[in-house]
């Protein structure tokens, strides 16, 4: 058991567990999902700690705050765009006197393998003044998960662990450390460290700025410059280290090199490196974060290359090949690509997926309308935008479906249909439903209830399907206009007729199209 081949996500889960984790909270999101899955699998066997899916990243974060208030080590994990949802508790938590260690794992997705943007969470960490650790392989992910708890308790602040898809889903060997006991319940002693009323927050903000600079100083002290040629200095962060190492051997002269894995950015080390070098190249996964910072902290400017200057591709993931031009290395030669290969295989709904049947009846019910809006959301049903369905018009972020359909209708674009999955409805749909009911908007909400979070590998939805109807009724949708139908082609005609009737209704309608996800059924059968 002491030398395992682990995914970055698994390594983080185990690192946290071995550091005395008491409570973990999360909402599923690729590539972060396996952190919670690993913890839940262990919790189901061993017990002794809490590992829970939550309605969304904000509620997950707030639960973690409570666990920290109680004095226990807690972790909240999410994908990068999840941090947008949790931004309010995240940014404000920086001001608190964190009690039990609080670690926020955020998985960025450069290359957008399974996301709608490439946002770089290091900006969030710096914006909030939260220290951030960035591992470069599974061993570091494990070690840094442990270190993050120490850092959090030592400095009484939350700590971010920032990973990227290749780290989250890459496997390499991990050697474990000792398993620490959990903290006992011990409520935060300083009540005024947990109350952000303005007079208190002003003081805490000052404290935080001082704390942040102190940690920057510590990061400076632990930064080590690998000496090399004065012609070129290379700065790497996180996984970019590995891509640099892959190519280092091909360089005629060895550049000096500084690797940054702990933020706030060590100013002193960067200035020192710059003072010894004629030119600096920054290699980092995500946005040009260090590169831009660097431009602001050097008193004698020297040429700085990276994503912002254009030497390194500004979009997508780094690879061992796409950083070679910036290092002045020729392209590696492989075989020419075959002319037979089409660009890619677009993903598709699984054969027999209930969403396919829902899009069929939706499309047919809308036939005959000159104009309409179909605003959808994040999930497998996003694929309804592609042939053969071509039904989905907009996909923006979790919950946008209902809000956009409501706004489109209020602006005069009708009929307007918001299409959302059950999990996304619980995540962010409910407040928009409340808005629609309170204003009596003429809008149709279609909840595609497959009783799971299908997109991320079929995690159970937070609540059973039966509740959806009750929620619609509870917030005040008329009982004649809440329907549960079966998303199956045998019901096609009946579903078309029902939806057509509701399109003629002048107020809020909620149609819950139910059928279980095929993948979830398979998974349940296997278990």
């Amino acid at each position: 058991m002491d030398n395992q081949m682990l995914m970055g996500d698994e390594a983080i889960a185990l690192g946290a567990l071995h550091a005395g984790l008491s409570a973990a909270f999360a909402y599923p999101g690729t590539p972060s999902t396996e952190i919670m899955e690993t913890l839940q699998e262990i919790a189901s066997r061993e017990g002794g700690f809490v590992a829970q899916w939550c309605s969304n990243e904000k509620t997950a974060f707030e639960s973690a705050l409570g666990a920290s208030y109680a004095g226990r080590r807690t972790m909240v994990s999410m994908k990068h765009v999840g941090l947008n949802v949790a931004a309010d508790p995240f940014i404000n938590s920086a001001l608190l006197k964190i009690n039990g260690g609080l670690v926020v794992v955020v998985a960025d997705d450069p290359g957008m393998h399974s996301s709608q943007d490439e946002q770089d969470s290091r900006w969030y960490a710096d914006f909030a003044r939260v220290p951030c650790l960035e591992p470069a392989d599974s061993q570091e992910a494990y070690d840094m998960a442990r270190e993050a708890f120490e850092l959090s308790e030592k400095n009484a602040c939350p700590v971010m662990l920032r990973i990227v898809t290749r780290l989250a889903h890459g496997r390499s060997a991990v050697v474990f450390g000792p398993r620490l006991p959990q903290n006992p319940v011990s409520k935060a002693g300083d009540r005024w460290g947990w109350n952000l009323m303005p007079s208190v927050a002003r003081r805490l903000w000052k404290d935080l700025l001082a704390k942040y600079e102190r940690i920057r100083g510590e990061n400076d002290a632990t930064s080590a410059i690998e000496p090399g040629s004065a012609d070129l200095a290379v700065v790497t962060t996180g996984l970019a280290l590995q891509y640099y190492r892959e190519n280092e051997g091909d360089l005629a002269t060895k550049p000096s090199h500084l690797h940054i894995s702990r933020y706030p950015i060590p100013h002193g080390a960067l200035r020192e490196l710059a003072s010894r070098s004629k030119r600096i190249l920054v290699l980092e996964e995500g946005y040009p974060f260090v590169e831009r910072y660097l431009r602001g902290i050097l008193s004698t400017p020297i040429p700085i290359s990276g994503k912002e200057s254009g030497e390194v591709p500004a979009t997508g993931e780094l690879t061992p090949d796409n950083i070679r031009p910036a290092l002045g290395l020729p392209a590696r030669q492989g075989l020419a690509p075959s002319s037979l290969v089409p660009p890619g295989r677009p993903p598709q709904l699984c054969a027999g997926c209930p969403h396919g049947d829902s899009f069929s009846f939706l499309t047919e019910a809308l036939e005959g309308h000159q104009v309409f809006a179909v605003n959808a959301d994040i999930g497998c049903y996003t694929l309804g935008a592609l042939p053969p369905y071509n039904a989905v018009e907009t996909v923006v972020e979790m919950g946008a479906s209902f809000g956009m359909a409501r706004g489109a209708s209020e602006a005069g674009l009708r009929p307007a249909v918001g299409v959302i999955g059950d999990s996304t409805f619980y995540h962010s749909g409910i407040p928009n439903l409340v808005d629609a009911v309170s204003h009596g908007t003429n809008v149709k909400f279609l909840i595609l209830d497959n009783a799971t979070t299908g997109m991320t590998g079929a995690q159970p939805t937070i609540m059973p399907s039966e509740r959806l109807r009750a929620i619609a009724l509870a917030v005040g949708v008329g009982s004649d206009h809440v329907h549960v139908v079966r998303a199956h082609r045998t019901e096609h005609e009946a579903n078309v007729a029902l939806l057509k009737r509701e399109l003629d209704h002048m107020g809020v309608s909620v149609i819950i199209a139910f059928r279980e996800c095929i993948e979830a059924l398979k998974k349940a059968r296997k278990a």
Partner: protein
Amino acid sequence: MKYDIILCGVGGQGGISVSVVIARAAMAEGLQVKQSEVHGMSQRGGEVLAHLRISDGTIASPTIPLGSASLVLAFEPLEALRYLPWLAAGGSVIAAAEPIRNIADYPDLGAIHAALKALPRSLLIDADRIAKEAGNARAANMVLVGAAARHLPLKAASLEAAIVELFSRKGEAVVAANMKAFEAGRGL
């Protein structure tokens, strides 16, 4: 020694299990291993790719540089062609011959097979048929592992042990069928 493998196929073909078998066998022999895969939308018929790197020294990049793969192991013939730019001079391609036609513009299968056969070191395998003959249509992946065995810098016994470990949870019959498929692949 360093040995890089591109494993590719179409979502739902279970390519990750092959990666796990080879990686475990390499770990058991005391080698360094790095593996990178991308999950997410892959379960729904898109292309699936895993990079598997084996070495007796330190491995840096989790993904394989262009022109460096010793082996492209493909569960689908068109996908084999997609990753030719990663193949090293002297590298081999082992591909299942049966297509997965889930795209409208799937090229002519004869042309795909011809392009693969034209490569200096390639092996096209009727993996589904051979697996069926070995008694389990779902063990086609292990036929491919078997066919790759003689190329890999690993002992057959290590691969066998990894197969047993991976499938033992599913019962003896599944283990036996996968071992039989592996043996059938080795004989090719």
